[in-house]
């Protein structure tokens, strides 16, 4: 009996933790990390603010966890896009389109993950995740060099150029201070993604696309 109680408590704790995570992400998706205040998260999750600190050492630790979970989803999507059939250039193009397209469809989320000034704990995670993207690109670039569709080059360096070019070029368009009209958004986004992909593939292959 004592054992089953403990199990139930454990489950309840896990559920509360998940609810805190979901509600934090809800806040971040709506207004960035800035708008994810602990009192607001507690209100949404239906827990006391003290409960949040029983699950997460600090606001920074909670944010770092949210950042990891959300960014890993994006890394997985890029890995998935790299897994299509085709040569390495086609696969890299599909991955870049996936990354930029998803970002522009959820601009506030993407802004929070890519550029919003948060705190050093989240910045550390950002550095680590940019490496994760670069690792994926590097593998594809090396495959492309072997296949012959990408010229011989320092694949590591080129992969970081891709990560930098695609994230930096999205920061302006994603910025919450940018005014967006719903009408021209789709067109504008497609043109933008084309231009980013064009720069990246040209940088890699030296061939006008």
């Amino acid at each position: 009996m004592a054992y089953r109680e403990t199990e139930k408590m454990r489950q309840r704790k896990a559920e509360a933790r998940q609810r805190i995570i979901d509600c934090t992400w809800e806040c971040v998706a709506e207004g960035g990390f800035r708008s994810a205040r602990i009192t607001r998260i507690a209100g949404l999750a239906g827990v006391a603010t003290g409960t949040i600190y029983r699950h997460f050492e600090s606001r920074e630790h909670l944010f770092a966890e949210i950042f990891r979970l959300a960014t890993q989803r994006e890394v997985d999507k890029v890995a998935e896009a790299l897994g299509i059939s085709g040569n390495a250039v086609e696969r890299l193009e599909s991955a870049l389109r996936q990354f930029a397209g998803r970002a522009l469809k959820g601009p506030m989320k993407a802004w929070a993950l890519i550029a919003e000034p948060v705190d050093p704990t989240v910045e550390e995670e950002r550095l680590a995740y940019r490496k994760a993207y670069a690792d994926l690109f590097e593998r594809a670039i090396n495959e492309g060099i072997k296949e012959g569709c990408i010229p011989e080059q320092n694949a590591r360096l080129a992969s970081t150029c891709l990560v930098g070019a695609i994230s930096e070029s999205l920061i302006g368009p994603l910025s919450p201070t940018q005014t967006r009209s719903l009408q021209d958004t789709d067109n504008r986004n497609n043109t933008l993604v084309d231009a980013i992909v064009c720069f990246c593939i040209q940088g890699l292959t030296g061939t006008r696309s």
Copy 2:
């Protein structure tokens, strides 16, 4: 007499402020913002820690000021490099070489300015300064499009790709966790700069360099 006293005090205050700035930058150049602790800065500058807070609202404000001063120097160097004679592609190449070369020559300083996780106040400055670099590049790209040495494209977007590619590709090589041997540094740095510039110019022009 009273007036001259006030002048003297003002001058002394200005000197103390400058000394605090110089000593903070000395710490940052040696071990990044992380190593610039207020007690250490106060010790180096020969002032009480309280004096620092009379000049700067907080550690964050002091860091933001240091960041602005140091980054403005780099922006000026890039502007200078863009001012050489030659067509826009040559001038952009010289600016990219200037930026990367200076960064690799002072890796700890550059790491602190480009990538070190600091705090949101400095991160806000970083976003602003990346725009300043992009503004310079954008002007040169537009000139290149007019001159005909750069193909028609969205110059704003391409300028942010340049900023992203060059900073992101430097983060790994600049990272303090990277082990460096003094011997191979110069060679390695030249190869690195060549590869970064090659990616950037190809991205811009679509021509193998």
